[in-house]
Structures are given as structure tokens and as C-alpha cells.
Amino acid sequence: MNTFPFSDWIVATIFVACIAITVAGALIAAFTKRIIRSVCGLAVCALGLAGLFYFLNSPFLALMEVLIYIGAVCVTIIFGVMLTEPDEAAPENLSRPFPVIAPLVSLAIGAGVFLGIAKLSLSGHWAAPATLVSDGSVKAIGIALLTTYSVPFELISLVLLVAILGALVIARSGRTKE
């Protein structure tokens, strides 16, 4: 294992960097004003998440995370940003009774969810399985997808087809009016 000096610490540093990238991307995605920076934050978050998937013994899903989230989802959202005007306007001068309350309440809800679930997960005892049925390699995933999970696999392809057709129909219906 220790063929390279400090290899454990190098791996731990990379792991902490993955966590930092994920957290920073999520913060950028949730807190910036301009929506295009928010999309970029989502892409950064997906990149860090791919690193975490790699540490969870699944390089296949790390590849899929980069391919689908950064390559497909973020690019599609950027197309949506191009076709609409999503930037939030300057704060309107509505007579709001308590202008400070809303951010505080949402921050409190977010912090409450985070602290509650973090406390739960830190206090749980996650027992390792007694025996491993499958090692989770790409070969095992492929075999399971084509045998045990073949019906959900086909249903996912059907869902994607229906989603694409529905997206075309919905986005087309407004065009004929003008």
C-alpha cells in the first residue's frame, strides 16, 4: 500500500478537496444573484460530486455524473437561460412589512434541516454487511441492468422518449399563436 511516501495523506487531501468543491459549488448555486453563475455553481458541484462517487468505489457513476449533469443538464439549463430573461430584477420597492424576516426564515429552515440530518447521520451506527453478494464493478452493473433491472431500464428509456416528445409539444404550442 505504502509504495509512495505519504500516499494516505495525499488521498485524504484529494478527498477533502472534493468535499470543498462540492460545498462551494452548492453555495454558489444557491446564493449568487445572477442565474448564469448559479448554473456554473451547479456544474462545479457536479464535478465535486463525481469525485465523491469515485471515492465511493464507483468510477462508472463518476463518469456518468460528469457526462449527464455537466454535459447535458447544465447545458440544457444554459439554453433555457438564453431563451428567457431569468435575471432577478432589482429589488422592487413594494411595501413589505418585514423585509428582513424572509431571508432569516429561509436560512433558519435550511440550517435546521442541515443540523437535524447531520446529527442523525453522525449518531447512527452504520454496520458493514456480513457478506458481499456483488462487488459493484461495471461488469456487475451491466449484468444486473440487463437481467434483474431490465424492466425499469426499458421504462427509463420510455420515460425519456415521452419527456422529449412532451417537451417538443409544450414548447411548440405557444409559437403558433403569434
Binding site: 488521498v11 485524504a12 478527498f15 477533502v16 462540492t22 452548492a26 448555486a29 444557491a30 446564493f31 442565474i35 448559479s38 448554473v39 455553481g41 451547479l42 458541484c45 465523491l52 462517487f53 471515492f55 465511493l56 468505489n57 464507483s58 455524473e65 449527464i68 449533469y69 447535458a72 443538464v73 440544457t76 439549463i77 439554453f79 433555457g80 428567457t84 430573461e85 431569468p86 435575471d87 432577478e88 430584477a89 429552515i109 435550511g110 434541516v113 442541515f114 440530518i117 447521520s121 453522525l122 452504520w126 454496520a127 456480513a130 453478494v133 456483488s134 459493484g136 452493473i141 444486473a144 441492468l145 425499469p152 419527456a163 412532451g166 417537451a167 417538443l168 404550442s173 405557444g174 403569434e178
Partner: protein, 108 residues
């Protein structure tokens, strides 16, 4: 516990997933446009995927079940984004705005 083996602790992944979920919920409440809410929803999807993967790695006897579940989550998220963006574009054509406070009529 050896601090160099921090990546073999399931609680670390679960806390990161809880943070992603909390950030997604905060953004879902605070964002005033539909695309911002969609991005926050994607963060919640990411939290669910990370939870699936962490429990799959550390507690499941069959190591491929969680990976397949996360693959299905990714497929459903892609379909959801396609549908949501087409709805957003249709809304923008009709209202010339995608701010959520302008969408206050029910009859289409």
C-alpha cells in the same frame, strides 16, 4: 480513527448530502425565478444520489444496487429538466417573464 482514512467514514458523505439538501431547500425558498428553483431542485437530486451511493458503499451487501438507483435518478433528472425547461419557455412566451410572482393566474 486514523484521520487519513476519512474517506472510509459513511457519516462524512451523509453530512455532505445533508448540506446539499439544506442548500437546495434554501434556494428553493429564496429564488424568485423558475430557473433558479430548477437549479435548487437539481441540488436536492444530487443530495439524494450521494445518500444512495454512501449507503450502497457502506451497508449494502449487493454493491451494484445503489449505483443502478443513482443511474435511474440521473435519467429521471434529465427528463425532468427537459420537461421543466419547455414549460418555462412556454410560460415565458405567454407572460414575458419567469418570475414566480407574475404567475398568479390559473386559467391558461
Amino acid at each position: 480513527m486514523n484521520p487519513a482514512l476519512i474517506y472510509s467514514q459513511p457519516a462524512v458523505y451523509l453530512v455532505v448530502a445533508a448540506f446539499l439538501l439544506a442548500t437546495g431547500i434554501y434556494g428553493l425558498i429564496r429564488r424568485r425565478t423558475l430557473i433558479g428553483m430548477l437549479i435548487s431542485g437539481e441540488l436536492i437530486f444530487a443530495a439524494a444520489s450521494l445518500n444512495f451511493m454512501a449507503f450502497n458503499r457502506f451497508t449494502a451487501p449487493d454493491q451494484s444496487v445503489g449505483q443502478i438507483a443513482v443511474l435511474f435518478i440521473m435519467g429521471l433528472a434529465a427528463a425532468e429538466v427537459a420537461i421543466t425547461l419547455s414549460i418555462i419557455i412556454a410560460v415565458y412566451r405567454n407572460y414575458r417573464s419567469i418570475a414566480s410572482k407574475d404567475l398568479n393566474e390559473l386559467k391558461g
